[in-house]
């Protein structure tokens, strides 16, 4: 329901929500006083280090740590013989995790250059290095395979041949996971006037959160294991560490301090299990802090993909058929292998109105660094294929690419069979689109991008420098329907402030602020009256953690419900103080106000309830999960300039229009969009992990793997398109991931518009562009 000036009813009168309030942790971060994992000094802290495999595929025939253990200052050396062997997944997902149980804490086999071999804890980093150097390993080197298509062929080395793994789809063929579904409405391709059959390849990339992975573990006075770690998933971490080391969950506590970014690389148990094992072995605090190089190679990466898209389209613009074959390179282990592969389809296909649909997905093991969760989570790969193909289909039928898109996209009130067919690693949940700003975002992006004038102006260029403009539209999800759950607890203090205890995990996203705003809105206070304690498994209630764009939509709703319960309790006490009926009372400006004009401060309510009569703590908890995952939508427009003599492509301007429902904090929503967009742009232009023939990573440093700096960044224009999603708190959907999905397609489309060449394999390096230009002429 939109008012005249575009604001949404129900939103324009909000006091805190939908305002760009300052981050509640902003000053601490700006002043360097906020504490990240490594910003504490612990007495007796040992340095933990990991011995990494130099081979892509090998059995450990013998591992001799006797010399290492003798070195003075070495407190523990662990091999596969010294830790429990419990097959599990390291993927931070809800239990039971939809990823194969194909890894153990330390194994007698290594599966990629950078895999774990052993771990040491020592008095200093130098002594730890000496210990690593003194470990003697006898490897039986096995043949390795690096290409997923080759890995599936007969005769390829079997990477997971251990008998105790679980849920691997076909270990003999190195297929970690597979998923197929089909919706057939007629004979395949019989109604198509044109058929486009293309294969798109996306590359290995790494999240490059500025804070490398770091974990500190120690035993408290009760011999409980305390894990202080840079994680997106504290609760999954607790469970999986307990499972892996065969200790009871109640013995483990996970604390998340400030996190220097995650983007999915920390939706994973990367260090916590082995660090805990070292603490249990030594009874000492241990810190493992990865170098940037180790973070590149031995944490997680974005799954490379090969996506074949064969689509049929009619002259009138109807998409009659879509065959989507997805092969995802899982790397050495299958964490998130099923779900990322499925999201390439589940978070793309529903956006299009299609007749016959078939999705064929495989996640394949290779002896390369491990693919994991990475912002966008398969949709990023999927949209490169789909939104490139949209331009190709439009061209094939002689239709304007914008007009074609307007005909093809799902609208509010509509549904897609894909919602039911594809969930998170299992069957999904049917849903209908309730809120959609997709078409408005499209209009706004085109306008802000100067689409019409530029398409005209760039139609006939003759110079060395050619300009072009390209478009991509996107969707994502908001949490995982019927799986993701978050909870919150609120309690009232004497002065009218509140403690908000949330399992939800702020990794830089601003979750603490957004959730405070939601609580404050219901309670009639300022967000600065809310004191947040987050992500401590002993203290805060459960939350799945920061992934699947769930925090605002799911955890936010839990906070809202909790605040509403608190409101009831407050009003009950206040009605006694003011001698008014509860129905006549409301919360406003830190007060309880009556229709009659009488009022009292929250502090009075608090003191009454704590000290004066009918003493009780005003406190409540609530949980939330959703039966639906309403998609945010976006439209991106990229303008580029191609130097046809060098192949250099410069992104001149990038417009991102996003519908995230109600933006609880518009500045934060813009910030999320801007960061995701830039990550998408460098993923399109420069980022690519490279490997030597033997599987060693060649460019695992910031020196060789380039992120964009301030000078590389083009002007980014962000437009928030408000809609109202009734199932979300105050109408909110998600915003965290969607905008990383657009750049590869938008830029590929723009390059094609500029120079008449289409690239199917990002990054769009100058070399590739020049080669394509030469091939064309």
């Amino acid at each position: 329901m939109r008012t005249e000036n575009g604001a949404l009813e129900g939103v324009e009168n909000l006091k805190t929500v939908h305002r760009s309030v300052r981050r509640v942790d902003g000053l601490a971060l700006a002043c360097g006083t906020a504490q990240f994992t490594d910003d504490v000094d612990i007495r007796g802290l040992l340095t933990g280090k990991i011995l990494w495999s130099p081979h892509a595929h090998a059995r450990i025939k013998k591992i001799d740590v006797s010399e290492a253990r003798k070195i003075p200052g070495v407190r523990a050396v662990l091999t596969h013989r010294d830790v429990p062997r419990v097959p599990r997944t390291t993927a931070g997902q809800g239990y039971p995790e939809p990823s194969p149980y194909d890894s153990v804490v330390l194994d007698d086999k290594v599966r990629f250059v950078g895999d774990r071999v052993a771990a040491v804890a020592a008095d200093s980093p130098e002594i730890a290095d000496k210990a690593l150097a003194a470990i003697r390993v006898d490897y039986e080197i096995l043949p390795a395979v690096f290409d997923p298509l080759e890995a599936m062929r007969k005769g390829a080395p079997v990477i997971h041949d251990q008998p105790d793994s679980k849920h691997i789809a076909d270990a003999q063929k190195n297929i970690a996971c597979k998923f197929d579904f089909e919706v057939k409405q007629g004979e395949w391709f019989s109604g198509a006037d044109a058929i486009i059959d293309k294969t798109y390849k996306t590359q290995y990339a790494q999240h490059c959160a500025l804070e490398p992975h770091v974990t500190i573990t120690y035993l408290d006075g009760n011999d409980r294991l305390i894990i202080r770690t840079s994680t997106q998933v504290p609760f999954h971490c607790r469970r999986i560490v307990a499972q892996s080391l065969k200790i009871p969950i109640k013995r483990v506590r996970v604390i998340k301090p400030r996190i220097g970014g995650g983007f999915g690389a920390k939706q994973e148990i990367v260090l916590e299990d082995i660090c805990s094992a070292l603490t249990l072995a030594t009874r000492r605090p241990v810190k493992i802090e990865l170098t940037r190089k180790e973070t590149f190679i031995s944490t997680r990466t974005r799954h490379p993909s090969v996506i074949r898209l064969k689509t049929g389209v009619k002259k009138d613009g109807a998409i009659t058929d879509a065959l989507m074959e997805v092969v995802v390179n899982s790397g050495a282990y299958g964490t998130h292998a099923l779900t990322v592969m499925m999201c390439a389809g589940s978070h793309t296909l529903p956006m299009y109105k299609i007749g016959n649909i078939r999705f064929d997905g495989r996640s394949v093991y290779t002896n390369l660094p491990i693919g994991g969760a990475y912002r966008g989570y398969g949709a990023t790969q999927g949209f490169f294929a789909w939104e490139s193909q949209m331009d190709l289909m439009a061209e094939a039928i002689g239709m304007d690419p914008v007009e074609f898109r307007r005909k093809s996209y799902i609208r509010a009130g509509e549904t897609s069979p894909v919602f039911k067919a594809m969930g998170e690693g299992r069957e999904g949940v049917p849903q209908t689109i309730v809120s959609s700003g997709l078409f408005e975002a499209l209009d706004k992006a085109l306008e802000a991008g100067g689409w019409a004038e530029k398409r005209r102006a760039y139609a006939r260029q003759t110079g060395v420098l050619r300009r072009g403009i390209g478009l991509a539209c996107l969707m994502q999800g908001s949490g995982i329907a019927e799986i993701d759950m978050g909870a919150a607890t609120l309690k009232l203090n004497e002065d009218g402030s509140f403690n908000l205890l949330i399992g939800a995990t702020d990794i830089g996203t601003g979750a603490d602020t957004v959730l405070s705003q939601i609580a404050a809105e219901v309670l009639g206070v300022k967000e600065t009256d809310i004191i947040v304690t987050a992500s401590d498994t002993d203290v805060t209630p459960f939350d799945v953690g920061a992934y699947a764009s769930s925090t605002t939509y799911i955890s936010g709703h839990a906070v809202k419900k909790t605040a509403e319960k608190i409101r009831e309790q407050i009003l009950k006490v206040a009605s006694g103080i003011l001698d008014e009926k509860v129905e006549d009372l409301r919360l406003e400006g830190g007060m309880v106000a009556a229709k009659s004009g009488a009022a009292c401060k929250l502090a009075e309510v608090a003191n009454t309830s704590l000290y004066y009569r009918d003493q009780h703590q005003i406190i409540a908890s609530a949980s939330h999960f959703s039966h639906t995952s309403p998609p945010p939508f976006a439209a991106h427009v990229a303008e580029v300039e191609v130097d046809t003599e060098t192949g250099q492509v410069t992104v001149l301007r990038y417009v991102a229009a996003v519908d995230c429902g109600t933006a609880i904090n518009p500045a934060l929503a813009e910030g999320q969009t801007e960061g995701a967009v830039l990550n998408g742009i460098s993923f399109a232009m420069t980022e690519e992990m490279k490997f030597a023939p033997g599987g060693r990573t060649l460019n695992g440093t910031f020196r060789k793997y380039k992120l964009f700096n301030t000078l590389d960044t083009p002007p980014i224009v962000t437009i928030l398109v408000p809609t109202y999603e009734p199932s979300g708190p105050f109408g909110a959907k998600s915003v965290a991931e969607i905008s990383i999905n657009g750049a590869q397609a938008a830029i590929a489309n723009a390059i094609c518009n500029a120079a008449g060449v289409r690239l199917y394999d990002p990054p769009f390096t100058p070399e590739k562009v020049l080669a394509a230009l030469k091939k064309r002429s």
């Binding site: 060098t646 020196r703 380039k706 700096n709 100058p766 070399e767």
Partner: protein, 286 residues
């Protein structure tokens, strides 16, 4: 790692610095900005000579010649008003293009030439402007062309037994027109793929004293006399620039890092553009 260091010295004169380097050779090393040496593992270094107290941070003109102290930081070069007027400001532009601001503030022109990694920014433009390096080795002071310095064996002793103190540019280079081009994967990339520098004197529409220098594509920055010969004594034209660029293309054997053929292609494109830019530079500059 510099694990075996026994002492840090802070000399205030060139003489003291060189004396210390000689006394402790081969275990001594100079530390200036500190952006390169600290990350190069050298277990044999036992003595570090920190030269920050020596008067080697200057840009001045003396007897018509340009003199740049070896310890001048890239940022100081970029900011120098004097340098902005020499050869059209090419040296200050090259210094301003060094990635990133953290390196520009600490790294020095001396370090850039003494440890001439293929992609360093200053050697090509210094060579294009006929710069010489002054090296004090014990009691001897040598002056040799930067071109020789980067190619020869001086790197073995400069910064270890001998001290590079300054660069000198002949007075006639002040009025040269000079264009620089830097091609890298991104602005954040320290390791340029190609540096191309073209400089010349333009007298009465004729090109004289052309210098064409490429950096980053070969082991050391390299002059291309064959390309220079194409231009020498002739009036500018697009086809002449293309011919010179072709001479570079034909004469270039990129060191075998990735994309050698591509870099050869880009090098010749950049040379052609640099020549055009130099020619079109406003002649009333100085």
């Amino acid at each position: 790692m510099l694990k075996n260091i026994e002492v840090f010295y802070f000399p205030e004169t060139v003489k003291d610095a060189v004396r210390l380097l000689n006394r402790h050779a081969p275990h001594a090393a100079v530390i200036a900005g500190g952006t390169l040496i600290t990350k190069s593992p050298n277990l044999s270094t036992r003595v570090l000579v920190d030269i920050r107290g020596i008067d080697m941070d200057y840009v001045k003109v003396q007897a018509g010649r340009l003199r740049i102290g070896a310890r001048t930081s890239f940022q100081s070069l970029a900011d120098s008003k004097l340098l902005q007027k020499w050869a059209g400001g090419a040296l200050s532009r090259a210094a301003a293009a060094v990635t990133t601001h953290l390196i520009r503030n600490a790294g020095t022109i001396g370090g850039d030439v003494a440890r001439a990694l293929p992609y360093n920014d200053m050697p090509p433009v210094l060579m294009a402007l006929d710069a010489e390096a002054v090296i004090v080795d014990g009691k001897k002071t040598r002056t040799l062309p930067v071109e020789e310095m980067v190619r020869g064996h001086m790197w073995r002793i400069v910064g270890r037994r001998a001290l590079l103190t300054e660069f000198r540019l002949p007075s006639e280079t002040r009025k040269r027109a000079c264009a620089i081009a830097r091609f890298a994967r991104s602005a954040s990339d320290w390791e340029a793929m190609v540096h191309a520098v073209a400089s010349m004197e333009k007298s009465r529409g004729i090109c004289r004293n052309a210098r064409i220098v490429l950096g980053a594509v070969t082991r050391h920055a390299q002059r291309f006399p064959q390309a220079e010969a194409v231009l020498e004594g002739k009036p500018y034209s697009e086809s002449l620039a293309a011919e010179a660029a072709q001479a570079v293309f034909d004469g270039l054997t990129p060191v075998s890092r990735a994309s050698a053929e591509y870099r050869r292609e880009v090098a010749s494109v950049l040379v052609r553009r640099a020549i055009r830019e130099v020619w079109n530079e406003n002649e009333t500059q100085q």
